[in-house]
């Protein structure tokens, strides 16, 4: 903790309010593209700075929630406006504000040409939802934020997306909504089971406070409803089919936050709510989730290999990477859990960056089919260097951030001794996924970067300063988190152990 005492009170509420404040002048300047860009950049930058102050105020090493604010919201129902962060969410919040700032900055560079003001309004609304999901401690507030992300993203894909945008965006919304509405039923059931009428609550700290837990039978179904919503969001195989469509059609900025943040809401929800609230239910469904995770890792990698569209390839690689997240969470040990959270952060940085670079390339060439590309290495040295490092990070090269998370997840998996078959089978299978990732990513890199370049591409410029400015922080994080992950692990580990302890896991063995 750098700032002691904290210099910003109510910092989390501030984070939720700043984007809303930014919308007000945007509404006035909605027809003025230049002003809209400036307002949005300033707003998201202020948001980023405030989130960094929040990180600086965070007391490292504590497992519980910090900077908690809790006021009654619907007093007659006992529902509270309750926000707070712990080691798991604090970094996800910073990731959110960083990726949003980069997305807005990149979009201002000319990627969004029509209705810029409206685009920025949708993006700021989306930011409220994304930050809200990670800071909400009351399940009702969490659900509101979870759904608040839906409509802005629906519009971002549907209005500013590619040719099949309508199909893609409807599919995205309907999949997500089907899952989350069932979760809403489960949330209401949790509420009714939280105590006698008059003392009911949806506050997460209250729900996990006492030694009493929900009845086993109830847990089985409630966990299923929660897990289904998060599995669709994450997405887990076989609920992943919306993802490639949404990613291919979304504008670059939409793809960045979709992969970087929205998918994380699923993994975060599993770790924060589904596991600690319903440990017995989790035990029942755990074997299926582990099998599906390994399937996602192998299937995602295999399907990525044969993709012809660059964006689709990265989208399917996300399915594989998210498989590592669920695998790490559900082997229920510290290494797995910490690895899963790291994997979420790293995937946000690296895949966000990859989508950014595909977007940059597409802006220049208007091609995304791998067969149409090639030979950029000689013409775009800067682009190639950046892109190359992100590709290597994505395939898990030691020394870059992708390696740390996957390695810890694999370590946790090998130590998993539970049902149906011990980690000695799942570990090697998941490791095959890492090898496959190297194959499809390097093969893609080879086809796109080497070989003869098309005549038409020779005149195209390398990265512009604004594009470098977007990519530089991501590159820095990629290297920093790869070489020196310990400070981040120190933030994450106590909170992960607390959640896993609630989920009934063994957390005696530390990472260091």
């Amino acid at each position: 903790m750098i700032f002691d005492p904290p210099i910003l009170p109510s910092v989390l509420t501030l984070l939720l309010v700043i984007p809303l404040v930014g919308i007000v002048p945007l509404l006035a300047f909605v027809r003025d593209a230049r002003a809209a860009k400036q307002i949005a950049i300033v707003t998201t930058f202020v948001e980023l700075v405030v989130s960094l102050i929040m990180l600086a105020q965070f007391r490292v090493g504590e497992a519980g929630f910090q900077m908690v604010e809790s006021v009654p919201w619907l007093p007659s129902l006992g529902i509270r406006y309750e926000v707070g962060v712990d080691g798991i969410s604090v970094l996800l919040v910073v990731l959110t504000t960083l990726l949003t700032f980069i997305s807005v900055l990149y979009s201002s560079g000319g990627a969004i040409k029509q209705r810029v003001g409206e685009f920025m309004i949708a993006f700021l609304l989306l930011e409220v939802g994304m930050v809200g999901v990670f800071v909400a401690l009351d399940l009702f507030l969490f659900y509101v934020m979870f759904e608040l992300m839906l409509i802005p993203m629906y519009l971002i894909i549907g209005i500013w997306g590619g040719t099949r945008r309508v199909y893609a965006t409807l599919k995205f919304v309907l999949f997500t909504l089907a899952g989350s509405l069932l979760m809403l039923v489960a949330i209401v059931a949790v509420y009714l089971n939280s105590g006698p009428a008059g003392s009911r609550t949806l506050s997460f700290p209250d729900l996990i406070a006492g030694p009493t837990r929900f009845a086993p039978e109830f847990q089985v179904w409630a966990f299923l409803a929660f897990a289904l919503a998060f599995a669709i969001k994450l997405p887990m195989v076989p609920f992943h089919t919306w993802l490639p469509d949404a990613h291919v059609e979304a504008p670059t900025a939409g793809s960045i936050v979709l992969a970087g943040i929205l998918l994380k809401a699923g993994g975060y929800g599993l770790l924060r709510f589904a596991l600690p609230l319903f440990p017995i239910g989790a035990q029942v469904w755990l074997p299926i989730i582990i099998v599906l995770s390994v399937v996602a890792i192998l299937y995602g990698a295999a399907v990525s290999t044969v993709q012809k569209d660059l964006k689709k390839l990265i989208a399917y690689s996300s399915v594989a990477h998210m498989g590592f997240v669920t695998l790490g969470l559900f082997v229920l040990n510290t290494q797995g859990g910490v690895g899963a959270v790291l994997q979420m952060l790293n995937h946000g940085v690296v895949t966000g960056a990859l989508f950014l670079f595909v977007g940059i390339e597409y802006e220049k060439t208007h091609r995304r089919q791998i067969a149409d590309l090639g030979g950029f290495a000689n013409h775009w040295p800067l682009y190639t260097a950046f892109f190359g490092i992100f590709v290597l990070a994505s395939l898990g090269l030691p020394g870059l951030n992708g390696f740390v998370g996957e390695f810890l997840v694999l370590l946790g998996t090998f130590r998993y001794g539970g049902q149906p078959i011990s980690g000695l089978l799942w570990g090697p299978l998941a490791a095959i996924g890492v090898i496959l990732a190297a194959i499809y990513l390097l093969w893609m890199f080879q086809r796109v970067m080497y070989g003869p370049v098309r005549e038409a591409y020779k005149a195209l410029p390398d990265l512009t300063p604004i594009e470098v400015a977007c990519a530089a922080p991501l590159l820095a994080l990629t290297i920093l988190l790869g070489v020196f992950p310990q400070p981040v692990i120190a933030i994450i580990q106590p909170s992960v152990e607390r959640m896993l302890a609630l989920a009934g896991a063994t957390v005696t063995v530390a990472v260091h």
Partner: protein
């Protein structure tokens, strides 16, 4: 009858007076000169009626037990006055365009409102029946107000014939209730029903007839067949009103009759209502999925919403939270559904048929505020936070699960997900497709746009800060449902 009795129904008396004043001005000053300020006369009158409650007695029974003033009736007074005012605010452009008599329209809406308010006042079958008729007959007129339009005639006739038929069934049911108890007082009927129990065939017959009769009014499947044609054929401002006020009134009647008079056998009819709820919402949503006319789609969607409300009625075993859920849902539905229909009044289309999906193409670029308001209403109807429509669904889930109908809650969730498809498809056409050359003209109506804008923002504000309305609904449900 004393002064005290008359003061108790002061708001109803004032609304009656306003209706008569509107008719007199319309006849005396002449249609053309009166048209611009008749809506404002109506709005001011409605505001006075709402305010006059503070001079009326706080509560109690009046007219020898025929009328009761409690939080329940006050809640519905507020709702019906808000709905009537909203209807009147958004109607003028359409009425002018289609040359519908404005004075007649406003007066008819007001008369129907009086009937709806009377239903909420009833603790006696006679008052209840008078209220139902007073509400229904003006609505038949509203449906056919566009005299020269064939579809409006069809709508009016269908609505009238089936409405009259259902009223007869309802009245027959009331007669059986009277036969069982020898009284028209709801509390005395409850006592007689408790003694007789479901073993008595008379109770079963009465239950079936009353459920059918009230089911017609609320558009419960399988008593819904009149709804799509009546809603589609009626002039759009009439549709907006008749899709919300009569439905809200029907649920007021259902709560009064089912929960009070038939309360003792609640466990027996609850399951029937739960099954009807699932059939109703599923039918409404599935048929709405394939509609290409937005007005007709909204008609089927309103059937689906009947199903959601009915689910909360079925959960009355959960106590006051069920009643509060019904009231809150009816309130939220009133604003969001009226708003959605009113958005169609923005488009200058010939006849009553409303817009097709293709005619909405690119509405965003032609009327950004209207398209945004329409989207907000549709998001409300879908039930996505932070809107009042979401909160209404959340509040329905609670008693439904509490009463042990978890399967019903799951059915609502799946239905809501399916419904998202057709609601959001409208958004697709407005925002994601470009306008065609033959796109209908957009009405440059300032009051209409402002009303839609304010109402759509209100649904979000109420979605974030629902406590005033929700606590009112809890208090209002108290006299009806106590565990």
């Amino acid at each position: 009858m004393t002064i005290h009795d008359l003061l108790a129904v002061l708001p109803e008396a004032i609304v009656t007076l306003v209706a008569i004043v509107v008719l007199v001005i319309d006849a005396g000053v002449g249609e053309r000169r009166a048209r611009p300020w008749l809506p404002w006369v109506t709005i001011v009158g409605l505001a006075i009626a709402l305010a006059s409650q503070s001079w009326a007695p706080a509560g109690g029974t009046f007219f020898g037990g025929f009328v009761v003033v409690d939080d329940f009736s006050r809640f519905f007074r507020l709702l019906f006055i808000v709905l009537a005012a909203f209807t009147v605010l958004v109607a003028p452009p359409y009425l002018r365009r289609e040359e519908v008599s404005a004075g007649e329209f406003y007066a008819t809406v007001l008369f129907s409102t009086i009937g709806a308010m009377t239903i909420a006042l009833a603790t006696d079958l006679i008052t209840l029946f008078v209220g139902i008729e007073l509400m229904s007959i003006p609505v038949y007129v509203l449906a056919g107000l566009q005299r020269r339009d064939r579809y409006a005639n069809e709508a009016s006739l269908k609505y009238f014939l089936l409405g009259a038929f259902s009223t007869a069934i309802l009245l027959y049911g009331f007669a059986w209730l009277f036969g069982i108890s020898g009284s028209t007082d709801l509390a005395k009927i409850a006592a007689a029903v408790r003694t007789a129990g479901l073993g008595s065939p008379a109770v079963v017959v009465a239950l079936a007839l009353v459920t059918t009769g009230l089911g017609f009014k609320a558009a419960v499947v399988p008593f819904h067949q009149w709804t799509p044609d009546a809603y589609e054929g009626a002039p759009t401002p009439s549709t907006a009103f008749m899709s919300v006020a009569p439905k809200a009134a029907a649920f007021a009647a259902i709560l009064r009759v089912m929960a009070t008079a038939l309360g003792p056998i609640q466990l027996d009819w609850a399951l029937v209502f739960a099954i009807l709820a699932v059939i109703t919402m599923t039918t409404g949503n599935i048929v709405a999925l394939v509609q290409t006319n937005v007005k007709r789609m909204l008609a089927y969607s309103s059937i689906a919403h009947t199903g959601y409300i009915l689910a909360a009625v079925a959960a009355t075993a959960a106590g006051a939270s069920a009643g509060a859920a019904v009231l809150f849902y009816v309130f939220a539905y009133g604003i969001m559904n009226l708003g959605a229909f009113a958005c169609l009044e923005l488009l200058d289309l010939e006849g009553t048929r409303g817009a097709t999906l293709d005619e909405l193409n690119g509405l965003w670029s032609r009327h950004a505020a209207g398209a945004t308001a329409f989207t907000i209403f549709l998001v409300n109807l879908t039930g996505i936070p932070p809107t009042v429509g979401f909160l209404a669904k959340f509040l329905v889930f609670q008693p439904v699960i509490d009463a042990g109908f978890t399967w019903l809650a799951v059915a609502i969730a799946l239905n809501a997900a399916a419904a998202a498809f057709y609601y959001l498809r409208v958004v697709v056409h407005m925002f994601m497709y470009d306008a065609e050359a033959a796109a209908p003209k957009v009405e440059p109506a300032r009051v209409l746009s402002w009303s839609l804008g304010i109402a759509s923002i209100a649904t979000i504000v109420l979605g974030i800060l629902p406590d005033p309305i929700y606590s009112f609904a809890v208090r209002a449900a108290g006299p009806i449902l106590t565990k």
